[in-house]
């Protein structure tokens, strides 16, 4: 006790920095080392030569040339971005009202029930989940059966092994990641702000448009970014529900690694990382002012 008390004034700001470095250092070093090493290995592999059966340590740009000139890859990238954008948009459209509704539930029991329902996809393995969707969406699956029974459709609707199926399953998996940041920001919002708006003459709609919505924007934005990044990197869902007809970069990477074409897999990985970073950063720039206006008070 006395020792600690005596050493405290002498330690000061520099001492505190040292303690912080001591606490954070190992974790940061571990992550940085792994990341840098991995990126280094990735880059080296991307400039090696692939003979068709094995990789040779001979510097060449042929993997890059193939990736950027063959229109097959451009189509894959385009489809992947489209998939991620549509998934994100649907997640936001479902997730925002869901998060908003949860903040309005008064009974604690129902709040817990709502959390369980929303976070349940994360409690199941992604493979089990994907097969579950296959069963539900297949030609003779639950959805088609109900639709046919209600005479809403003549022939079964195709809901798997295409864009629609992958999107439905991805929205299901990613919804918790969309709901959570929005919920967090809505719960943190001072409820008297809504009362103040109402007191000043705002109807519920005006209160939402002028107070709740702008103040929840940072949460919505974080949710969108997280969902988008996760959708871009999804592997199991496009694999199983796409049935080979939906190609995305993670699938190509896996395929090329199986074929031992490490250089091409490395180029595809670099492209995926670059794409995600580019989209994230440019959207940050785009929304910089809007985000600064709503977050700087904290």
């Amino acid at each position: 006790m006395t020792v600690a008390a005596a050493s405290r004034p002498a330690r000061g700001a520099r001492g505190q920095t040292l303690v912080l470095a001591g606490l954070l250092g190992p974790a940061v070093a571990f992550i940085v080392a792994l990341l840098l090493t991995a990126l280094g290995v990735l880059f080296i592999n991307s400039v090696y030569h692939f003979t068709g059966t094995q990789v040779q340590p001979r510097i060449t740009l042929e993997a890059y040339r193939r990736f950027f000139t063959d229109s097959f890859y451009a189509n894959v990238v385009w489809q992947e971005v489209r998939l991620a954008v549509v998934t994100t948009a649907l997640c936001l459209a479902i997730g925002y009202p869901t998060a908003y509704a949860i903040t309005k539930i008064r009974t604690p029991g129902w709040v817990i029930a709502a959390y369980i329902v929303i976070f349940s996809p994360l409690l199941t393995s992604s493979i089990v989940r994907a097969y579950g969707w296959l069963v539900i969406l297949a030609r003779g699956g639950l959805v088609n059966w109900v639709l046919a029974d209600l005479h809403l459709i003549g022939a079964p609707v195709r809901l798997i092994y295409n864009f629609t199926g992958v999107t439905i399953a991805l929205v299901h998996v990613l919804l918790p990641f969309t709901v959570f940041p929005i919920l967090a920001v809505l719960l943190r919002m001072d409820p008297t702000l809504r009362e103040a708006a109402s007191d000043l003459g705002a109807t519920r709609l005006h209160t939402f448009l002028r107070v709740t919505w702008p103040l929840s924007f940072p949460g919505l934005y974080a949710a969108a970014q997280l969902t988008f990044v996760l959708a871009m990197n999804a592997y199991v869902t496009p694999q199983l529900l796409g049935g080979g007809r939906i190609q995305v970069l993670p699938l190509l990477i896996y395929g090329n690694i199986s074929d031992l074409n490490w250089p091409l897999a490395a180029v595809e990985a670099i492209a995926l990382i670059g794409l995600v970073w580019a989209i994230t950063l440019s959207s940050n720039l785009l929304f910089r002012r809007r985000l600064a206006a709503t977050t700087e008070h904290e």
Partner: protein, 376 residues
């Protein structure tokens, strides 16, 4: 300022109509009976305070007037109109929240213009009104500041401006000065009173701070356990408290337990602290009733052995011993013990002449009209 929103719409001859009226209002939250049978009539242009400890129901009354709560029983009238279920956004009242509730994503101008824009006023008119009200609260030139860049006192002024700019018939204030330090709070009290004079709006002010209520209010309703304990001007409730609770809540009080000896035309004779004491007439004080005799500390005079005798009007005199002396700046506080073992607090102006030492023997004296008999 021009006529406010809906005042023009109500009946023309409403000179004596109260701005706010509660008739036998109750509010229950589940099993909690927060407001019990409150009837109040708040006049036009009055500075009215609801004073009481936390949990006494004062904020609930305010929230019913503003429309955030609906009375469980009874009626609420705003300018003669039954208003029980009118939503907040359609009432001609504005509330200044305890924690102000300024919009963090808007600057000062947009905060103040919020209500005006919803009323779809023209851009130029909004601008004129916002700048005018900023002048009134001494914040000219601050319109483009963001809320987090303002000091506590400035935020306070923005909140006042945001409410007042709508020219409400009734301005409601929910302990808005609570977060400020003492000096700023005193300054804002004076300013609020001044603003009220200038805009001539009815103010309903909720506070647990008796000094604040006394400083600003025309009338005060002292609340306790959901009921109005006493209603009157500041002087009324301070000088003529009707219950022990009011006497204790507003300032310091000496309460002597005693019994009524006799009730006369103009005075009550009470036996307390081993003495026969004289107090003003009190109707309910029939002989034999157990009562409290209440005297404010500043009304007690202390006479030491060497002091000049007091005039004969100081009819009540008790011997006492000084137990403690505290210097409080403007006055000196004496804690005294009587031979009957009652404790009295006396306050004397610190005029620099003399201080009676601890252990000294004194006579405590007060005039009959300075006491109050509380039958309760």
């Amino acid at each position: 300022m021009e006529a406010p929103r809906t005042r023009a719409r109500t009946a023309p001859d409403t000179a004596d109509q109260p701005a706010v009226e509660l008739r036998r209002v109750h509010k229950r939250f589940g099993k909690v009976h927060a407001v019990r049978d409150v009837s109040l009539s708040i006049r036009e242009n009055e500075f009215f305070s609801l004073l009481g400890p936390s949990g006494c129901g004062k904020t609930t009354v305010l929230r019913m007037i503003s429309g955030f709560e609906t009375p469980t029983e009874g009626e609420l009238y705003l300018e003669g109109r039954l208003a029980n279920t009118i939503p907040p956004y359609r009432r001609d009242t504005n509330l200044i929240f305890q924690h102000l509730a300024l919009f963090p994503h808007l600057d000062v101008y947009d905060n103040i213009a919020f209500g005006l824009r919803l009323r779809r006023l023209g851009r130029d008119e909004i601008r004129r009104k916002v700048l005018e009200i900023l002048d009134l609260v001494h914040l000219g030139g601050y319109e483009s500041r963001r809320i987090h860049q303002l000091s506590g006192g400035q935020k306070q002024r923005v909140a006042i401006a945001r409410a007042l700019v709508n020219q409400p018939a009734v301005l409601l204030l929910d302990e808005p000065l609570g977060a400020l330090d003492l000096r700023l709070r005193v300054q804002m009290q004076v300013e609020l009173k001044e603003i009220q004079h200038r805009v001539g709006t009815t103010f309903v002010y909720v506070t647990h701070d008796q000094t604040e209520a006394l400083t600003m209010s025309d009338r005060i309703a002292v609340m306790r356990d959901g009921m109005v304990e006493q209603l009157g001007t500041g002087r009324d409730v301070y000088e003529r408290p009707r219950t022990r609770f009011v006497a204790m809540f507003l300032g310091d009080s000496n309460l002597l337990i005693g019994q009524v000896e006799a009730r006369e035309e103009s005075r009550t004779i009470v036996r307390a602290a081993g003495h026969v004491l004289i107090a003003p007439a009190e109707e309910t004080a029939t002989p034999g009733t157990a009562v409290y005799l209440c005297v404010r500390p500043e009304r007690l005079r202390l006479v030491g052995p060497d002091d000049a005798p007091l005039p004969a009007s100081y009819e009540n005199r008790i011997r006492a011993q000084v137990r403690d002396v505290t210097f409080k700046g403007a006055f000196i506080e004496y804690r005294l013990a009587t031979p009957s073992d009652d404790t009295l607090i006396a306050q004397a102006h610190a005029d620099g002449t003399r201080v009676i030492e601890r252990g000294g023997s004194v006579v405590v004296a007060w005039r009959a009209p300075d006491g109050v008999v509380l039958t309760e």
